[in-house]
């Protein structure tokens, strides 16, 4: 099954995204007889094949479980090792929307990189569209090409091992949208027009991490008659919802009252002891009843509204809880600058 098939039930040979942790996904190809071994237990493929996608699968003889998910370009992106150059979903989704990529669109991508954005492009153009993708790093090109074919994009995505800056974008033609993720996009921009759709609007996005690259790119886009040039950054924050115990001023005051009571009880006892000692000194025989005991401190129950000293599970209903949301601790603050531009079609003869 390819990414584009929207399958309902897991079959032999399917690529399944196994969800191991919060955002930990492992791509696994189903082969009956095989077993997936993880830190969270072992899972025979036979326990997954035939189940609907989305099923929770219990570990073999263990308490753990995983979910078996259908692959999407977004899950695939999450499963990639982080060190690879990746166009993440917030950027990728914005670029597709802004470049107006649709079913049937013809798109150029250079370089292919990890191929993660290529998946998203292929999903959107569908079987009636084309994505020509170019990569100058041979190992990376090979890896992405193989994956894209395995994932069912064979007829949609056309992969080339090529330096587009020197060698152009053949055999792309009739292209609506161009995405350039290159160290020097300005070297590739001048050759573009011959590959674009005749008499149509073409859109471009150049993906560059540094300001200096952006400035050079904008200069070249202007020289090559691209208009509506705009550079933007996309940022995306995740918000984490959590419970916090409510601690009120009233409780503070009651607690401090109880500290005070305890202190005054201790002082009273101390005074009593001192008095008794004094009497002891004065007249040994006058002691009536039993002498005060060291452990005889009048017990004052400290007001403990927040369970200090106890182990408390969040949400424990002996306490009040507030719901807070906080931004994730480490924010992907900057991925790249996205420089967009539009090339107008050639003007027709004017009627006057």
């Amino acid at each position: 099954m390819g990414f584009l098939d929207l399958p309902n039930v897991i079959s032999e040979g399917d690529l399944v995204m196994v969800r191991l942790g919060k955002s930990q996904f492992k791509p696994v190809t189903m082969q009956s007889g095989e077993t997936l071994h993880t830190r969270y237990g072992s899972y025979p493929h036979n326990d997954m094949i035939g189940k609907p996608y989305g099923s929770q699968i219990p570990a073999m003889g263990d308490k753990g479980f995983v979910h078996v998910l259908a692959p999407t370009p977004e899950l695939w992106t999450l499963s990639l090792p982080h060190r690879t150059q990746i166009v993440y979903t917030p950027d990728a989704s914005y670029i597709v929307q802004r470049l107006e990529i649709r079913p049937g669109s013809k798109v150029i991508e250079a370089g292919t990189g990890s191929g993660s954005f290529t998946h998203a492009l292929g999903r959107t153009v569908g079987t009636s569209g084309d994505v020509w993708t170019f990569e100058f790093h041979e190992v990376r090109w090979e890896a992405a090409k193989v994956e894209l074919e395995q994932h069912g994009y064979k007829d949609i995505v056309h992969s080339f091992y090529r330096d587009v800056c020197s060698d152009g974008f053949q055999p792309a033609s009739g292209v609506h949208a161009v995405f350039l993720d290159l160290p020097k996009p300005w070297l590739a921009i001048p050759s573009l027009p011959q590959y674009l759709e005749l008499g149509g609007i073409s859109r471009i996005c150049c993906f560059s991490p540094c300001v200096e690259q952006v400035i050079e790119t904008i200069k070249t886009l202007k020289e090559c008659s691209w208009t509506q040039i705009e550079t933007v950054e996309v940022s995306c924050r995740e918000w984490i919802v959590r419970k916090e115990m409510r601690r009120t001023l009233e409780d503070v005051l009651k607690r401090q009252e109880s500290f005070r009571e305890r202190r005054s009880a201790i002082q009273q006892r101390k005074r009593k002891l001192e008095e008794l000692e004094k009497q002891d000194d004065d007249d040994d025989s006058s002691v009536v009843g039993s002498p005060p005991n060291k452990d005889d401190i009048p017990y004052v129950d400290l007001y403990n509204p927040w369970g200090k000293g106890e182990r408390i599970v969040k949400g424990d209903d002996r306490f009040q809880w507030d719901i807070f949301s906080a931004g994730e601790r480490d924010i992907k603050s900057h991925t790249s600058f996205l420089t967009f531009a539009v090339l107008a079609p050639a003007p027709p003869k004017m009627k006057t």
């Binding site: 979910h67 998910l69 989704s93 914005y94 929307q97 008499g199 149509g200 904008i218 040039i229």
Partner: protein
């Protein structure tokens, strides 16, 4: 060849001021442009979209390169800094009346007027190159009679509502709409369940990605669905066979509409139709077609296999999501948009996290920051409209019968 402007098409025209206008271009008709006058629609019919035109005083169009560039290179001297510049409203020597005369009597073009206005600014060479450029741009936006044509899709619709009344699209912006579509894995041929309280913007955007085979069920909260407003912009949702509107009541409680569903099982017998008056027969046939469409929706519903649920509404989202979980297929996405974080925090805390039919919940806030890209003056725009709101995303799961305990 790219798409061309066909007779009676709806267009959006972008103006140098940054404003835009939606118009219909019909053969032989004039297209009004407010204070810029008007032009004959015939002049642009058959042209590709995306061209920029200048209107002369006779209403004739010429294709130009850009909406707001004036002269190739400024020939004025500038100042290193503005230490010599004293704020003085009188430094512009030309009055509005004089400018009107230039326009009306001398028949100058917008470009020529801008040049005159700059010439007559007494302190222009005391401004820095930066201030000069800003001044020219402001005047260009005011006097250039230009426009750019564009067909109307979800991005243009969003821009239109954002300028007119952002509340009608709940402040939804391009980065967030794009993210919704990606997270929902919208693709050609899919089947989607949608709650759209944003003037059908989500419906439009999904349709753009759907191809001819896809379909969407649109849940609405009123007596009748309201798809007409977009007709005025040339977007026909009413007769698009991929759009299947249904009320919440009829979607959630088909058991209350058994009669209608039974009615749909077979066409009304011909002999029965023959007995009816024409008007009654038409009414019966219409009722039958509607019932079939409804049955079709209920069948989709009962298959519990929508490829995603997309929600953008001012209704309380927690109850909504809870009611709609069963209809989404396993491993498919639920994506909820809201301009404020609070309803989504409530949704996560009370519905998606406690319910083991939903996994991988995350609340995301995406925002775009545009830069000014004038050469030598690259910096983020000084002011910015507020960000694109929040998305809650989670995936539908099928829990095992015996609930596995432990992690997560």
């Amino acid at each position: 060849m790219g798409a061309i402007i066909k007779p009676d098409a709806h267009l959006i025209l972008y103006l140098p001021s940054g404003n835009h206008k939606i118009v219909k271009v019909s053969p032989g008709r004039k297209v009004p442009l407010g204070k810029f006058g008007s032009f004959d629609a015939d002049q642009i019919l058959g042209h590709p979209f995306g061209l920029t035109y200048e209107i002369d005083n006779q209403g004739c169009l010429t294709v130009v390169d850009s909406l707001d560039s004036v002269v190739d290179e400024a020939t004025w001297t500038d100042s290193e800094d503005n230490r010599m510049l004293v704020d003085d409203p009188d430094s512009q020597k030309m009055t509005m009346d004089e400018i009107e005369t230039l326009k009306k009597d001398k028949q100058l073009t917008g470009q020529e007027i801008v040049a005159k206005v700059i010439e007559s600014h007494s302190a222009f060479n005391k401004k820095t190159a930066f201030s000069q450029e800003k001044y020219i741009q402001r005047k260009a936006q005011k006097f250039l009679k230009r426009f750019r044509t564009q067909s109307i899709g979800s991005n243009e619709l969003m821009e239109y509502y954002n300028a007119k009344d952002p509340a009608r699209i709940m402040d939804l912006r391009m980065e967030t709409l794009g993210l919704m579509l990606s997270l929902a894995n919208v693709q050609p041929g899919g089947t989607y369940l949608i709650v759209d309280g944003v003037s059908s913007l989500v419906v439009c955007a999904v349709l753009e990605r759907l191809g001819p085979e896809g379909q969407l069920v649109l849940l609405h909260e009123n007596e009748m669905v309201n798809l007409e407003p977009l007709q005025l912009m040339g977007i026909d949702l009413v007769s698009d066979p991929r759009v299947k509107p249904v009320s919440f009541l009829k979607f959630l409680h088909p058991e209350e509409f058994r009669a209608e569903l039974e009615f749909a099982t077979a066409p009304p017998p011909q002999e029965q139709l023959d007995q009816l008056k024409t008007s009654q027969r038409n009414r019966t046939l219409r009722r039958y077609r509607k019932a079939v469409q409804y049955k079709n929706i209920v069948d989709l519903r009962n298959s519990h296999s929508f490829d995603a649920l997309l929600i953008a509404t001012t209704l309380q989202v927690s109850g909504l999501v809870q009611a709609l979980i069963p209809f989404v297929h396993g491993s498919r996405s639920i994506v909820v948009y809201h301009p404020c974080k609070e309803p989504l925090v409530d949704l996560e805390e009370n519905i998606t996290r406690p319910d083991n039919r939903l996994i991988a919940t995350q609340i995301l806030e995406s925002a775009v920051r545009p830069y000014q890209s004038v050469p030598g003056r690259f910096h983020p725009h000084m002011s910015l409209e507020r960000g694109g709101g929040y998305i809650l995303h989670c995936l539908r799961a099928y829990p095992t019968a015996v609930q596995a305990q432990g992690r997560r």
